[in-house]
Structure formats: structure tokens, C-alpha cells
Symmetry: C2
Subunit: 243 residues, 2 copies
């Protein structure tokens, strides 16, 4: 997993630094030091600091999107819109919280503060990914699965917003991100949908859904899973003073 080429190292440490401190608070000297090169050498690999950012934004959005798409594609094609949306949420969460989620997290934490000219290149990708969500929610509404009184646009923004905020508080002390992820999806799903969740299936690999397309997440943990969940409840301590 560790990057082999200096260019990749620069991207990785930059993503980690951008995620932690923001874009403009991160200096090229900090990046260079973390990558164990000299400041000027960054420009051998990138034209500018802005270019490093652009590449991180791109990778970040691709990561969450691929992760969400993989989860949806792993479902049987006749799966309900609700199941697809829950799968997409799990995938999006996975992209953000799994080990190596620095690119996605950096992208999501940093994007909102960027000036328009730095957002621009990334906007199309985000828009495309947003349309993927729009279609899922439109299908859910047509199937009558969205709770009456809820605006489709709001529901989408609140659900994804709750997920996008997770990098703000989730860390290793919460244990396996899958335990947290299941609860988040369950909670959001119950708030959004009318239909009774005919598929607690989603919550475990013992499901009928083929999880082969999502190898990293559908781990060898099959039987111990339920027990782990019960323990999780106690283990999941609150982070200090997090709003």
C-alpha cells in the first residue's frame, strides 16, 4: 500500500495534510518535509501547489464514487431502490472511513472553502456523481419508498451530509468502521424510507447479495460479526468535545 514513487508519496502526504489542516494552511515546505524531499523538488513532479490539490480532489471523488458504484453493482439488478441507496451510502462511507481515505476526506473537507477557480475542474466530477444519487432517489420516490412530506433534494443532501461529516469525528478509537457504517446507514434509511426494511440482509455478508465485487470490505469476518456488533455498542466511546 505504501507508495513507491516520490510523486505518489507527495500526493499521499499532501492529502493527509490537506485533510488535517486545510489547503491554504498547508505549506509546500510541510509537504516536502513529510515526503522527505526538499521544497523545490516538489516542482519536479507538479507544476504548482494548485496542481497537487487538483489531483487530490480528483482521486478523492473517484474513490467515493467507485466505492459507492461497486456496492450498488454488487446487488441483484432487481434490488429495491432503498437497498441500492443504502448500498451506495455504505460505499460512500467506506471510501471516506477506510484506511486510505485521506484523498476522499481531504476532498470533502477542503472543497467548500476553495475559491471558484480551484473548484472548477472538480465540479463536473461532483456533478456527475451527484446525478448518480439523484437517479437513485428519483427511483425510490417513484417506487413510493420516500416518506411523504420529504423533499427529494433535502433528503439527499442531509443523508450525504451526515456521511460527509463523519471524517470530522470518526477515528480509530471507534473501532471497525463497518460497525459504525452499518448504524449510520440503518439510522438514515429508517428516516428516509417508508418501506419496512425487508433486508436486514444488507447488514451482513451472510446476505444473498453477491459481495464479490467489493473484496476489501466483505472481509473474512462472517460468524463473529453479530457478536462484534453487540460489543461495539459499548466500545464506541464519544470523542472528546466533538459537536
Amino acid at each position: 500500500m505504501r507508495a513507491e514513487f516520490t510523486r505518489e508519496v507527495i500526493l499521499e502526504v499532501s492529502a493527509r495534510l490537506f485533510r488535517a489542516h486545510g489547503y491554504s494552511a498547508t505549506t509546500l515546505r510541510q509537504i516536502a518535509k513529510a515526503a522527505k524531499i526538499k521544497a523545490g523538488s516538489v516542482y519536479y513532479h507538479f507544476k504548482s501547489k494548485d496542481d497537487v490539490l487538483q489531483e487530490i480532489l480528483t482521486i478523492g471523488v473517484n474513490d467515493v464514487r467507485d466505492s459507492a458504484l461497486a456496492r450498488v453493482d454488487a446487488l441483484p439488478p432487481d434490488a429495491s431502490p432503498r437497498r441500492k441507496i443504502e448500498a451506495a451510502m455504505k460505499g460512500h462511507l467506506e471510501g471516506l472511513l477506510r484506511h486510505g481515505g485521506d484523498f476522499s476526506s481531504a476532498s470533502i473537507r477542503v472543497y467548500g472553502h476553495l475559491p471558484p477557480h480551484l473548484k472548477k475542474r472538480n465540479q463536473e466530477m461532483r456533478k456527475g456523481y451527484g446525478e448518480f444519487w439523484d437517479e437513485l432517489f428519483a427511483a425510490a420516490e417513484q417506487a413510493g419508498e420516500i416518506r411523504p412530506g420529504l423533499s427529494l433534494g433535502i433528503v439527499r443532501l442531509v443523508a450525504i451530509g451526515a456521511i460527509n461529516w463523519t471524517p470530522e469525528w470518526f477515528d480509530a478509537t471507534h473501532g471497525n468502521y463497518e460497525d459504525v457504517s452499518d448504524q449510520i446507514v440503518s439510522m438514515l434509511g429508517e428516516g428516509i424510507f417508508t418501506s419496512v426494511s425487508e433486508d436486514k440482509a444488507l447488514e451482513g455478508p451472510e446476505s444473498s447479495a453477491p459481495e464479490t465485487a467489493v473484496p476489501e470490505s466483505a472481509a473474512p469476518e462472517t460468524a463473529i460479526r453479530t457478536e462484534k456488533k453487540l460489543r461495539a455498542r459499548k466500545r464506541l466511546a464519544l470523542p472528546e468535545s466533538e459537536l
Copy 2:
């Protein structure tokens, strides 16, 4: 509403700039220019840029907290934990989204990227406010109102997280923030609680709950409210390319 004294003007424009561009991306020259003074003059009112930030963080947390507390206090004392939590969510949202929410929004958007020594002074306040939420959720659990399988800590973080993300996408094009606010609270409430919401009361000023303690939000719009909600559904267009 417009600030009268220069010191207040500095705080207001700083909050707006910090919210929009982040702390370190905002320069003293930008602040001075927006406040219509010269850069050096900021130091007549504040010891440092850091001090401006500290005051904004303080005001920001106080705003959401006061707003949440006011909503809860306006309930009858025997109100269910669920109603109290929903009231607190409405209040927190109000603090963020209402006109003048720049302090709260700046505080919440910027905090996560700050170095520890800049977070420190604000940490106690946030911790205190977090405990207020902890108590509400603990009461809900003891009353058996939390859906089984959900960890209290996760629920709190996800609910408040969804709310804290709203400054990222909400703007004037969404119309009255109260319409949005009602939907968010409803959606989160349904996801969190077991009990049937015996109180759609929360959703309208025609409720039995005394709203006198929250003057700014319980506006003159009493009868037109329901109709507005119906229209809202169409009016609430998606912001461009917002994840």
C-alpha cells in the same frame, strides 16, 4: 442588526470571511478592507488575528447553544425526550441557518482544521454543549425511545453531523430555512426514535408548545405555513454539484 461599532464590524466581516474561505486563507488585509479600515487598525481592537478567531468561535458556539436551549426550554417540562431532542435540533439548525448565522457556521466549518492551540480555548464550551446533548440522548434511551441496535454516541454524532453539514449547501435559493429545518428534524427523528411521533405539533406554530421564547423564528406566518410547505417541495431545487 447592522453593527454599529468598528469592533463589531470586524467580527462580523471576519466571521463571514472565515466561514467562506477558512481561517488561514483569510488575511488581515481582506478583513480590514471589508470592514473599511486599514490593515494596521485591526490591532487597535484586537491583539491578533488569533484573537479575532477566538471571539468568533466563542460567539458561534454560544449562538447554537442558546438557540437549542431556548427551543428546549420553550417545551412543557414533561415533554418527551424525543420532543426535546427534536426541539434542540431545530434550535441548533436555526443558529446555523438563520440570517446572522455566520458566527456559528464559521465556528463549525473552521474548527476542525485548526491547530490544537487554537482549538483549546473553545474546547470547554463545546464539551459543555456536547454534554447537554448527551443528557438528552441518555434520557431518550432510558425512556426506551432510541431504536434498538443504535449506539447512543453514533446517533448523536450522525444527527448533529447532518445538521452541521447544512451550512455547506443551504443558501437563499432553498427558501425559508424553517421549511428545510422541519424536514431535516423529521427525517432524523424518524431514523433515531422508536416511538410514533405523537407530536406533529413541533412542525407548526399552531402547536400547543409556547413559542414565545423563540421570537425570531416563530414568525407572523401562521396560516400560510402549510401551503408554503407544499410549495416548498418544488421550490427546493438542488444546488449545483453539491455532494
